[in-house]
Symmetry: C2
Subunit: 194 residues, 2 copies
Amino acid sequence: MRRREIGAALLRIADTKGLQSASMREVAAEAGVSLRLVQYYFQSKNGLLLAGLAYLGEQLSARVERHIRALGTPPTPAGMVYGTLTAILPTDEESRRITRTYAAYYTLVLAEPDLATEHGTAYPDALERFLARQIEAAGAASPADSATIAAGLLALTNGLGSSVLGGQRDGEAALAVLRYHLDRLFGAVAGGGQ
Amino acid sequence: MRRREIGAALLRIADTKGLQSASMREVAAEAGVSLRLVQYYFQSKNGLLLAGLAYLGEQLSARVERHIRALGTPPTPAGMVYGTLTAILPTDEESRRITRTYAAYYTLVLAEPDLATEHGTAYPDALERFLARQIEAAGAASPADSATIAAGLLALTNGLGSSVLGGQRDGEAALAVLRYHLDRLFGAVAGGGQ
DNA sequence: GTTTTCATGATACGACTGTATCATCAAAAG
DNA sequence: CTTTTGATGATACAGTCGTATCATGAAAAC
């Protein structure tokens, strides 16, 4: 319990003040515990950061699952693509927080590749394959093209998310761009989820 | 001259070890000058970081211009879109370096918004409008859709760039995905840039 | 009842950070 | 020739960082 509280404090700081100012003392203060306690549960700063990344991944997975479930059962393949991508896009406070923190971790791992070894590409790869399967099942593309389309859609969503966080457009505008492309792919019938 | 050398040293460190480890002492050592000198030319750390961002912008602009010019004169509108987006995509060492450093600045500005005030959205906004105009001129979309398509293409390119830096795919694979989408837009005739 | 284990606190150490101060040297201005 | 100005060096200061050490209390094991 204590461990998770501290992890939550880390994510809170990473979101508001950035990962680089999430020192062990700052995390301890935010969680209302002593510095020693942070050291106790996570042996080193790397341990703390790694655990935070794992917690963040859980939060994103839960959100995606929740979004897909909200589309009604059973969801169509096209609906699952809709639900997944719109869950990732930073449109409300929760998704903004998750996306922003992920961005912070992203550059941290870029500069310190030994932090997250293989854990890096596993998640997005799996997500991409999942999307490719749904696109194929929806009959929206040939098996040969579905992987390319899935990669494009995920990259598009991530890029749109970056532009939202950067203040270039708001969540609604980004959602409109995403919907435009999804509608062209699925033929504008696959109900706008959420 | 001296000022520019120091700025180059900053960008070199930002690329290899990340922006957060680009301390003034480290930059001074990399540039082969004293710490005092870095303070002299840029009054504060913010000044140094801001100047580095400006230099980086110059490098990207120069690269895009070079890529477009390499398409032959006069380039077609479709060719300019090709040239611009493939110049941004991290396919060689120079573009990898630029993209990686931009990513570092991106999260830094996200966490410290007062660093780059208005300089933030101006550049990508202009780029997006430029692309929209070219798409419209190429007759590839209605004026109403061209803005949406341009935003999508830029976001797609940025997202693909992130996946390349993250090691999820290499530059060639990302280029293939980008070409796939551009070919669908322009009708597969607009010669493969570069 | 004693011993071991888990959980927590207080504090110290050395390294690093950005910034500031004082001094020096060369060249240009007057 | 003197004075001012631009460029450079050496060093100091106060703060923060991650980590380590020593100590204490409570609960569980035996």
